[in-house]
């Protein structure tokens, strides 16, 4: 009879609970860092650009139209759009949802500032996702095609925002995305080891807050401009024919503007410059 029991290894049964680190294995590090990076460039960069562009609404429908024309005049604009906006954004958004659903928020138990911000980053991310899907669909891929009819941009948005629900959604989304972005920059700096020290993080926190508030106010100002500052904007401030309005250098876009459904309504030939407020 074996009286001396051999030592059993404790690893015979699968370990319950959180598993140990899989040292050096897997690719999640790469994906996670790409997600992080994509939030800053290109998505964050796009957001800044977008908010600045949209801020042209402050200067009226024509100025905004020019901005749209300018953007559409960039070389390979469709490629840029997909490579630097749609694809990274989809990746960031979808991987972000994946990340968000793997966290177990516990602010109810530990209501500390950092923990709230952690939760807020997930909530604002989801809000941004929902908003962007509808926004891009309605503004970019349906209704009047703005690349072809840049002059209709202001009116398109104005129509959208004439619905008070839509207006509320835009305001919320504006706050959520700029919040998400500015805290995202702070997070990026903290997590990439750019601001390891407590004081550095705190200081950078102020910088991000200022940036976030500025972006948010610009965005809200644009919304204000669209809804209240220039009521009843013309359907299209850039009738296709007078290519003279377009800078000579952007002839390509002028071409692209003219070859489309040029039966666009030319009805309200109002003069943006003469809008009293400006």
């Amino acid at each position: 009879m074996a009286t001396v029991a051999p030592p059993v290894s404790s690893a015979t049964s699968p370990q319950r609970g959180v598993q140990p680190l899989r040292a050096g294995q897997g690719n999640s590090f790469l994906w996670r860092k790409l997600h992080s990076l994509s939030g800053i460039v290109p998505i964050g960069a796009f957001l800044v650009e977008h908010i600045i562009s949209n801020f042209e609404t402050w200067n009226g429908p024509l100025a905004y139209a020019k901005q749209v024309v300018f953007l559409n005049s960039l070389p390979l604009v469709r490629v840029l759009e997909w490579a630097f906006i749609f694809i990274p954004l989809s990746f960031h958004a979808l991987y972000g949802v994946f990340i968000a659903f793997r966290g177990r928020s516990n602010v109810n138990v530990y209501p500390w500032a950092g923990n709230w911000m952690y939760l807020s980053q997930r909530i604002t991310g989801i809000i941004a996702l929902v908003y962007i899907v509808q926004h891009v669909w309605r503004q970019r891929f349906s209704g009047v095609m703005l690349p072809e009819h840049p002059g209709a941009a202001f009116a398109k948005v104005q129509h959208e925002l004439s619905n008070p629900w839509m207006l509320a959604i835009y305001v919320i989304a504006m706050i959520a995305t700029t919040w998400h972005f500015s805290y995202g920059i702070w997070l990026f700096a903290a997590k990439w080891g750019i601001t390891p020290g407590n004081r550095a993080r705190k200081r950078f926190g102020y910088v991000c807050a200022v940036l976030g508030i500025a972006l948010c106010l610009m965005g809200l100002a644009s919304i204000y401009a669209v809804v209240y500052k220039y009521p009843n904007a013309p359907e299209n401030v850039l009738p296709e024919t007078p290519a003279a309005l377009v800078q000579p250098a952007t002839a390509t876009s002028a071409v692209s503007l003219t070859n489309s459904r040029s039966a666009a309504p030319r009805t309200t030939q109002s003069q943006p410059r003469s809008t009293p407020q400006s």
Binding site: T3, V4, A5
Partner: protein, 589 residues
């Protein structure tokens, strides 16, 4: 024996881990048993530091002076040869710990910093903040983890050592241990075992020790035939914070910075401390020792506080507590004490800057332990011991910061010695006694689970602690010790009538505790009887009826053997081959 002998180390404190490292390094395989994950061993509690005469402060300190201080501090009861060896290895041990990454405090030049501790005139204590024990333990733990990941060490954390497996010739062939989760009791073969199970503060109920410091393993071996030496020598620290569950150390520096010890003059005074006017306060240390005041030596302070409470019945609210008052100190002084003030605040909830602290002496360290020879081997062949669990090095009183050193030194000796022993060991005949010992332990388990008495083990433990604290700590009288022994016999008797409210066979902590309790009771008798027979005062052992040291009769190691169910005490000469005993005089310190 096989090329790679199997060694079992029981206990993962400093002593256990250092012996594991030595064996693994020499190519042996080790099974390491510990009740708690080794990183949670009691050694983490040590705060002050670790001694070694590196003389980095240009004071002319030397190994010989460290040797002398240790022997003198221990009132000449320690065998001198191992002390000499330990102090000689001290500097190398510190260097080693430094190489292992212990964050010792540094001088501006990047060298190790040293501070002064009790019982010496030299700055000889290396320290890592206020958590030296923790830092040392972690460094060793990390080394063991490294050996573990290389397959040289197998850890059995959450296993309790129950007894040694002895063959027909009384040679150790392994251990019986119990898995504290599955409650499975098993035997493990080994060619030699090293017992590093620490101190036995739990016998005194509350102490500065950790929960698992029950002395249970040492007691089990004593009951199997090992000698237990100098059991009566228990160090009591004068200032501990009495807690509901344990006594937490309050460093001497509180008094060093000007803290005053007092009680209300009227024992029925119910006023809050701060509202008691100066005239109604009894600064008993200052009044009784005008010269030294609150800074009388440790043992005197301990005894006076004890007397005030138990003889004069003047403890605060009738409780065993006196005030240690810092509220009068200026801010800068308090700032120097920040660390310990925080401990008090955290565990008592009062701010010691505003409210006087309540303190009382606390059982702190076990000088006695398993008898070992100079190779750390007990009288049972194949059973070694090291650390606080053995009796060597500290004699009748331990000097501050010497224990951490002695643990590492002991482990460093025990490891290689056990390996050598194991290499020369002849194979066991038959099963080496495994079946019989397993049977014996299982029977004990069955007895406990089937017992249907009325006694609650935790209540018996409280009574044990109260008795031991009352009669066998600071001030000892023969009548009291007799009373205590009778009480222990009574408790052992009542133990038979124990009732486990939890008889389940899964992670049953009260079952394990109840097993340990029995061993505590048996070891309690060793302490009490050793003290009863030692009619002198030496080191931590103080009998007012015999106030002087008596070298003629008692310059001897007490050796307790378990004979017919009771301690049988004999004496053995002390090795005084290097330093001639001389009187130990406190008044000049």
């Amino acid at each position: 024996m096989a090329a790679s002998p199997r060694i079992i180390v029981v206990g993962g404190g400093l002593a256990g881990l250092s012996s594991v490292i030595k064996i693994a390094e020499a190519g042996g395989t080790v099974d390491l048993f510990s009740i708690v994950p080794v990183k949670r061993s009691h050694s983490v509690c040590a705060q002050g530091g670790i001694n070694a005469a590196k003389d980095l402060k240009g004071e002319g300190d030397s190994v010989l002076k460290h040797f002398d201080d240790t022997v003198y501090g221990g009132d000449f009861l320690a065998n001198q040869t191992p002390v000499k060896n330990m102090t000689a290895q001290g500097p190398a041990i510190i260097d080693l710990l430094d190489r292992m990454g212990v964050p010792f405090n540094r001088t501006p030049e990047g060298l190790l910093d040293f501070r002064r501790f009790g019982g010496t005139l030299y700055q000889r204590t290396a320290f890592a903040g206020a958590t030296t024990g923790q830092q040392l333990l972690y460094a060793l733990d990390e080394q063991v983890r490294r050996h573990e990941s290389e397959g040289k060490v197998t850890k059995y954390e959450g296993w309790e050592f129950l007894s040694a497996v002895l063959d027909d010739n009384g040679v150790c062939r392994g251990i019986v241990a119990m898995d504290l989760r599955t409650m499975e009791t098993r035997t493990f073969p080994a060619d030699a075992i090293i017992i590093c199970t620490g101190g036995n503060g739990a016998i005194f109920g509350k102490s500065t020790n950790s929960v698992v410091c029950t002395g249970s393993a040492q007691s089990a071996l004593y009951q199997q035939g090992a000698f237990y030496a100098n059991g009566e020598f228990i160090q009591v620290h004068p200032t501990a914070i009495p807690g509901e569950d344990k006594l937490r150390l309050m460093s001497e520096s509180a008094r060093g910075e000007g803290g005053r010890v007092w009680v209300p003059r009227d024992r029925n005074d119910k006023r809050v401390a701060r509202s008691i006017p100066e005239a109604d306060r009894y600064y008993f240390l200052e009044e009784r020792y005008p010269k030294y005041g609150n800074l009388v030596p440790r043992d005197i302070a301990t005894r006076e506080i004890f007397k005030i409470v138990y003889e004069d019945q003047m403890g605060i609210d009738g409780q065993p507590m006196v005030y240690l008052d810092l509220t009068h100190l200026p801010k800068e002084r308090l700032h120097k004490l920040e660390g310990i003030l925080e401990i008090y605040e955290k565990f008592v909830g009062d701010d010691p800057r505003e409210v006087p602290m309540k303190i009382f002496p606390g059982v702190h360290y076990t000088m006695g332990g398993l008898w070992v020879d100079f190779n750390q081997q007990t009288n049972i062949p194949g059973v070694f011991a090291a650390g606080e669990a053995d009796y060597s090095i500290h004699g009748a009183n331990r000097l501050g910061a010497n224990s951490l050193l002695s643990c590492i030194y002991g482990g460093f000796v025990a490891g290689p010695q056990a390996l050598n022993y194991a290499k020369a060991l002849k194979p066991a005949t038959g099963d080496g006694g495994h079946a019989a010992e397993l049977q014996r332990q299982k029977q004990k388990n069955n007895q406990l689970t089937s017992s249907t008495g009325t006694e609650n083990p935790f209540k018996i433990w409280r009574e044990l602690g109260d008795t031991m604290t009352k009669h066998a700590t600071i001030v000892r009288y023969n009548a009291g010790l007799d009373e205590a022994d009778a009480k222990l016999v009574e408790l052992l008797h009542r133990y038979k009538n124990i009732n486990l409210s939890d008889k389940s066979q899964w992670a049953n902590t009260s079952f394990a505790f109840t097993r340990q309790l029995y061993n505590m009771l048996e070891l309690g008798r060793v302490i009490v009887q050793g003290a009863r027979l030692r009619d002198e005062s030496r080191g931590a052992h103080y009998k007012p009826d015999f106030p002087n040291r008596n070298d003629e009769q008692f310059l001897k190691t007490t050796k307790a053997a378990f004979v017919d169910g009771a301690p049988s005490i004999t004496y053995e000469d002390v090795d005084t081959s290097h330093i001639k005993p001389r009187p130990r005089v406190y008044s000049s310190t």
